[in-house]
Point group: C3
Chain length 265, copies 3
């Protein structure tokens, strides 16, 4: 039973994802549709790219991932079928696959050109339902990637600028806020391994706030207290026990975060 | 494998839909339950009717659609089983099926009267779980519509007033706002074909605003710019690229929208 | 086909539940994952306990229920596998199972200790994905409860204080608000049977408001009117037809509710 995942900016419970599930159940009744994420901020390609990168490996081989974060729908952007390490991605060519291991030697990319499979009539505003869902259903029913259009070089894909690793200068890590999750947790570009470069336990500076409590469990901070923790994607996260760190610390995506050794310990 | 869809005003992620899925998985483990829509505004029968109409045909033949937008639960309203063009609808008789093709020659309607199938105890406030889910599960397990109660004439169903098509007068289309979706897009009762009656490209007047940019892709408008587009249900939609049109244009359901030929082009 | 339910405080549509579904579909492709509830207030163990209690019996025998409301993740709290009346619960030992019939003679509890099954690397912040999901998948694939760790006495589980039944004094029921649902309905600890002790039809006092209209259907109250009703969990609920009772009556969880016989009828 092939798994088809949906990642969209429709919001949860939307009839837009409901309609996509209808198309897939009509064309590939044996496929299992799984909601991967429906809380992507509207048109936020960078967030979608990060969520997909952090999630795809939890699914079984041969899973087909559809991503409908598609501000360019109806315009000139292409729809592509990407295969990476045994998984399939059917997505608009707008950068949502930027964080996947595109340099993988078996990665292949095809431009989807199969109007015979699309819904008829074909809308201008909802290619997730009218193109991506039927192509995914066909692929789940035994198709091969080359069936859907000409292969192109991975290098021709539209990609987001790379996320720079934090800079280590003068004993400090200069990082940046990559995302804020639904709990208000602040997710940085600093990985667990980066912290080993510091001369002591980490202290974060963010927006005139200083956070020095590094924990292994949210409960180790007092309720309402800010903390540092390595999150479930191996990234340094700034959180507040039972609170919303992003609100309390007035944090926004893109803001700098400085990590220094906490000399006071 | 029969598909059973759920459309409710519970909001996404609610344990109320969770309990319905429990009942169905207990009674019809082979059925596939699909969330069609859980974002219907509370008790908004008109919105539910529109969402169902725009969505049901994407599902395979023999799909069973349950709609739990049921302000009259526990009162005198009946629960009906409607068959239209190979699909089944198990719903309260309150108008939610108004936009379906009820004049279809094979449309049939039955009043559900099978207390032997209902959950026991039977609550007064949640017939989606206690009546509709078990009846749907039984139907998915091989029942026939006539098994669930007496047939009644389709004409006896409670229906909403018809949505009038836009009036064409003095070279203008006089339309109305039918719905506002979760993106803040404004959905009108004007269809793509109606626009052909205009003497030129369309310009919309709404609430002292004038929108003249007709596009085939949201991105053709500047960020924050208002636009006209034919949406995925073939209706004229007023949207804002990367914004919420309904908020920016102070639009509400039921407001008039005038479309005239844009003489300035 | 084994059912695995998910109850979390992630909010609906989250990629956190998406990742859990990925793990389960990788390890137990034949299992059916069902979203039971994703709207638990963050870290609200008492609400999770109540939702689970009111929902688990709607699922078929042998269902595996995962609950990820886990403020102590990464700390010293254990993960347990509880079997009650043919159902399985894989949860943190923090009280979320408090409202289940733990005194059931066949209830058994095991401490989960199977690092060979956990995801590797194992995160500190997401044991729902890294421990509970793989253990549930293994159990769904034919495991037995004793396979996952040593049995412990049910009495050693962490439990919330019992919910006291309403006190009947001087002809009145002294109750309390247990929960407020997503509709703003106010759910009390007073059961339908308790009302029989009153000398007449019930009238509620809450926060200087008096509600006297006992109905069997929300529509029996005028729009905006407050009402009393027995809800789908057999509890006395204070609601407002087409409105949010908790907002209008300024109600909060834990507030007292007094029910007296309505002498004016």
């Amino acid at each position: 039973m092939t798994v088809i995942t949906l990642t969209t900016d429709f919001g949860p419970g939307s009839h837009y994802s409901g309609q996509m599930k209808g198309v897939i159940s009509s064309r590939a009744p044996q496929a299992a549709v799984v909601d991967l994420c429906h809380t992507i901020r509207r048109h936020d390609i960078a967030q979608a790219a990060m969520i997909i990168e952090s999630s795809w490996r939890f699914f079984p081989a041969a899973t087909i991932h559809i991503v409908v974060v598609d501000p360019g729908v109806g315009g000139g952007r292409q729809i592509i079928l990407l295969t990476v390490d045994g998984h399939y991605f059917i997505v608009p060519d707008n950068g949502v696959v930027s964080r996947l291991p595109l340099a993988h030697p078996q990665a292949r990319c095809f431009v989807v050109q199969r109007p015979d499979l699309y819904l008829n009539p074909l809308s201008r505003t909802f290619h997730g339902r009218d193109i991506m869902a039927p192509v995914a259903a066909h692929l789940a029913s035994g198709g091969r990637p080359a069936d859907y259009g000409p292969q192109i070089s991975i290098r021709r894909l539209i990609t987001l600028p790379p996320i720079p690793p934090p800079k280590f200068e003068a004993g400090r890590l200069n990082g940046v806020i990559l995302d804020i999750d639904s709990f208000g947790n602040i997710i940085t570009n600093i990985k667990a391994a980066d912290l080993a470069r510091l001369a002591g336990p980490p202290a974060a500076r963010l927006n005139n706030h200083r956070i020095t409590l590094m924990v292994e469990s949210y409960e180790q901070a007092a309720p309402g207290g800010a903390l540092l923790i390595i999150n479930s994607s191996d990234a340094l996260e700034i959180a507040v026990n039972q609170g919303r760190a992003a609100d309390l610390l007035e944090a926004e995506i893109g803001m700098p975060v400085i990590i220094e050794a906490n000399s006071k310990i």
